[in-house]
Symmetry: C2
Subunit: 522 residues, 2 copies
């Protein structure tokens, strides 16, 4: 999942070189941006300047969209017949082909889909929301947290799944009771004044829903054994889960997922699938995009960049010349593409390594809604498959698509499973553990493993070689007339927002150069 | 707000009389229902039995809907020209008239609305969701929690509003640090074994996002001073709020609102307004509903019930006779209606007291989305107006309606404000405190105070007199041929689900009597 990668990359970047003055000004809130390159599009006259953009993922599309606004003559070379790159929505008839020749053809009902790549837009990702607004891509709420979603670990509740509300609220109850005990005994008197002590105890009673004696005996927040009703139907609370079991179960990552900054409510998804975004860019860009253009070689000289590509429909080799290039291909693919980049850039590209994230999706009746009262959100398990993700579209309809399994394959137990069948079995088992009796109701599985998808060969960058910040810094600078873009040149690795910001950054760097050149000529 | 009322009533009910055997069976999970009357509709042949239902709120509508399914001949008497009771959606042209003659006419843009009564459907309220499904009322997600929503207290951050993510995550950070300190020092060794101690520390580090030394120094979860971006734009975390200030600010009620059982995600709202539900019932029931029928007198004898009502359109007095009646009027209104109920029932009704909840809504540009990145959810303040509630409909459109102020007026500082203007000023001030510079952008206010709305005269029951469970029990039993329904005869006071369950309960009681009579006759 994105987080650890992003944090890793953030560290890489933090170790790199922006000046102390900038940092201080930012700390004081005087500057919104910490880069020498603006993050919002800068106005420049692009007329007469030709830019070839390699890759029609979000970074490539945003680059073309911003450059076109400024009058540049630009072209996007995209190897596939579709745009979007990792932004890929799978529907009935979509063919999933791996690099090893494995083929799947999606058999979903009409109108059903799953987003194999990015599947949520946090509201703090303002550039992506802005593009959706500008391109009239309707958004709907993506329910990323539901208290009715479930959690399962063999060490908790005898392996029987519980609701997220129990884990969240019982944990908070136990923590509050333990801390109240210490506060009552005066064990924190160094930290807490007498007045604060009373306030702290009053707070802990509310925080954990403790008894007047500061004991945690269970809470209505964790749900009911018997729901309150009419007449004499009074509610009966559940017995709380024990802290011992909660500690052993170690479901903390899932429980705290709702507070990962990029996963916090409110989140969105485009109505009808994430690919509505690249489709809207493509509709706007029109002939600027050349499809089926598999880049073979990138050559630059003093006067321009020449890109050779194979038209995969006709089989013919074609070339395009431009003043500049924005290279928005994954580094995994770039590493296999002939080029005359500098040695530093070649070294950085070669040193990069990528994670292979996967998702498994299934179609079935909406038992999660109808029988388990789960509407959207994610369930978490301590199993080889650790995430089951419910659809936020089509709620209350008879059937839907759920994702059982989302994570990294490299170096994980799931990735070590011997076959696709074993992986599908593990995926189905996760659903069965969460929703007993329902695993068998699932059909039409689709398994996407990004490391095996041609033209991606990975999901997101996991790091560079030994000199990480040097390599990251190298790719932030243009190599002659070539500018690098993509989420791997951002601190939002694995997010479309990172790709978009990197593209704006690249177009701004080209803009500075063009305006410099114009003023030199004047 | 509903919670304390419901808890109150739950206590009332719990003190009442269902048998120990039932309780035990429920505890063992052997019975889903704790009442002698089933909570799901029971099949009975209602042909030839006439029932008059008083009040076309949710309880009355559900009663008619269920009885009609069983073949009963039923009629709903509704005093207003609309159905729904407290379920009331206000739009352009809606007239809001108080009992004291104060009049407001809503001036919103076309398509804009606010739900003056219930405004959310928790997914655990399965009966209401079921009726929406059955009646084809489309639902959409009601965002009840957003980490970008704001919190404000004069004692916190110099009175400058902060984001909910800061209060939630900084509080958890401080709590974790304090508890980790006690655990490290061995102060909980009575409660925690050595092995658990390590697990507990590892957990607290994750829970609070502590440093390796178990200190809380702030967390990315609380948001950024500088957002991570492309290139060298690394994020800078916010300084954490201090626990001292958090304790003084006492924003706990708002912070914990997301874990109130009926407010937990996932929640819904009907597309286009809550009144889509009563409208759908009305469309299904057709001529069963008599509008403009202001009940004047309820008289019952051995053979039937006779209800006299004034047709408020024609001014004529009319009567209707039936075998049974379901009385689903608020007790406030019933208390003023002539009747020949038993003394116990009259006493119970007279002893009831109701809260007067209010809402204030405003129309304006969506500055909360565009400038403050808030999409749905509720902000909380420690001010006379303590809640600002953002619309979950029409996100990303230019203008919308927000509710600034939702709470009880009786016995509160808001209720004590001297005039409607003073209340509107307090409402606008809350928005200004949360969104500086934006209070003045609001217009077209609508103030609804349920205690002053004819035919409601209150929002929900707050209690009875001195013998509370006796009085509650009294209303659970039929008084001769009259059965009482409404959320006040449930443990879900203030919720449509309580009204629906009470209605199903009343129809089942009539069903038992009808089938008993049939078998007696046979």
């Amino acid at each position: 999942m994105g987080l650890s990668r992003r944090q890793f990359i953030t560290r890489v970047g933090a170790a790199g070189g922006y000046s102390a003055a900038f940092t201080m000004m930012q700390s004081l809130g005087l500057m919104p941006i910490a880069d020498s390159v603006a993050q919002t599009p800068v106005k420049v006259d692009g007329q007469g300047t030709k830019v070839v953009i390699l890759g029609g993922g979000i970074a490539g599309l945003v680059s073309a969209y911003e450059l076109r606004k400024l009058g540049y003559d630009c072209t996007v070379l995209e190897a596939r017949s579709r745009v979007g790159g990792r932004n890929w929505t799978i529907r009935k008839g979509t063919e999933v082909e791996f690099t090893d020749g494995t083929k799947q053809s999606c058999q979903f009902d009409d109108g059903h889909y799953f987003n194999a790549g990015p599947a949520r837009l946090p509201s703090i990702h303002k550039n992506m929301l802005g593009y959706c607004r500008e391109l009239h891509v309707p958004l709907e709420v993506e329910v990323n947290t539901s208290r009715s979603a479930r959690m399962q670990a063999d060490k908790l509740n005898g392996g029987i799944a519980v609701e997220q509300r129990e884990v969240v609220n019982d944990t908070r109850g136990h923590v509050s009771e333990l801390l109240a005990k210490c506060v009552s005994k005066g064990q924190l008197d160094e930290d807490i004044t007498a007045g604060d002590r009373e306030q702290m105890l009053a707070f802990l009673r509310k925080y954990g829903d403790l008894t007047p004696e500061y004991k945690f005996k269970g809470t209505e927040r964790s749900g009911y054994k018997v729901f309150p009703g009419a007449g004499n139907v009074t509610s009966i609370e559940r017995e709380p889960l024990s802290m011992d079991e909660l500690l052993s179960a170690d479901l903390w990552e899932g429980m705290l997922a709702e507070d990962i900054i990029d996963w916090q409510a409110t989140m969105f998804q485009p109505v009808g699938g994430m690919d509505q975004i690249p489709k809207a860019f493509a509709a706007s860009l029109g002939a600027i995009i050349r499809h089926d253009a598999d880049v073979q070689e990138i050559e630059q000289g003093e006067k321009g960049v020449r890109v050779t590509y194979r038209n995969t429909r006709t089989g013919k080799t074609e070339t395009i010349n431009a003043d500049y290039s924005i290279c928005a291909m994954p580094l995994t693919v770039l590493a296999k593409t002939k080029n005359n980049f500098s040695n530093d850039v070649k070294t950085a590209i070669a040193a990069s390594s990528y994670d292979s994230a996967y998702k498994v999706a299934w179609e079935g009746p909406r038992f999660w809604e109808q029988e388990f009262n789960v509407y959207g959100g994610l369930s978490y398990l301590k199993q080889d498959v650790g995430i089951v993700w419910y659809p936020s579209w089509g709620m209350f309809s008879p059937r839907g698509v759920l994702v059982s399994g989302y994570g990294v394959e490299n170096g994980t137990p799931f990735g070590s499973l011997p076959s696709m069948q074993a992986k599908l079995d593990a995926s189905r088992r996760a659903v069965e553990l969460l929703h007993p009796g329902c695993g068998a109701k699932l059909g039409n599985p689709v398994y996407v493993s990004w490391g095996h998808i041609p033209y991606n060969l990975g999901s997101w960058i996991s790091g560079f070689g030994r000199k990480e910040h040097t390599e990251y810094e190298t790719l932030l600078k243009p190599d002659g007339r070539v500018y690098f873009a993509g989420d791997h040149t951002s601190h939002l690795v694995g997010w479309q927002e990172g790709a978009a910001l990197s593209a704006i950054r690249a177009t701004n760097m080209i803009g500075s150069r063009v305006s410099q050149r114009s003023s030199d000529a004047a």
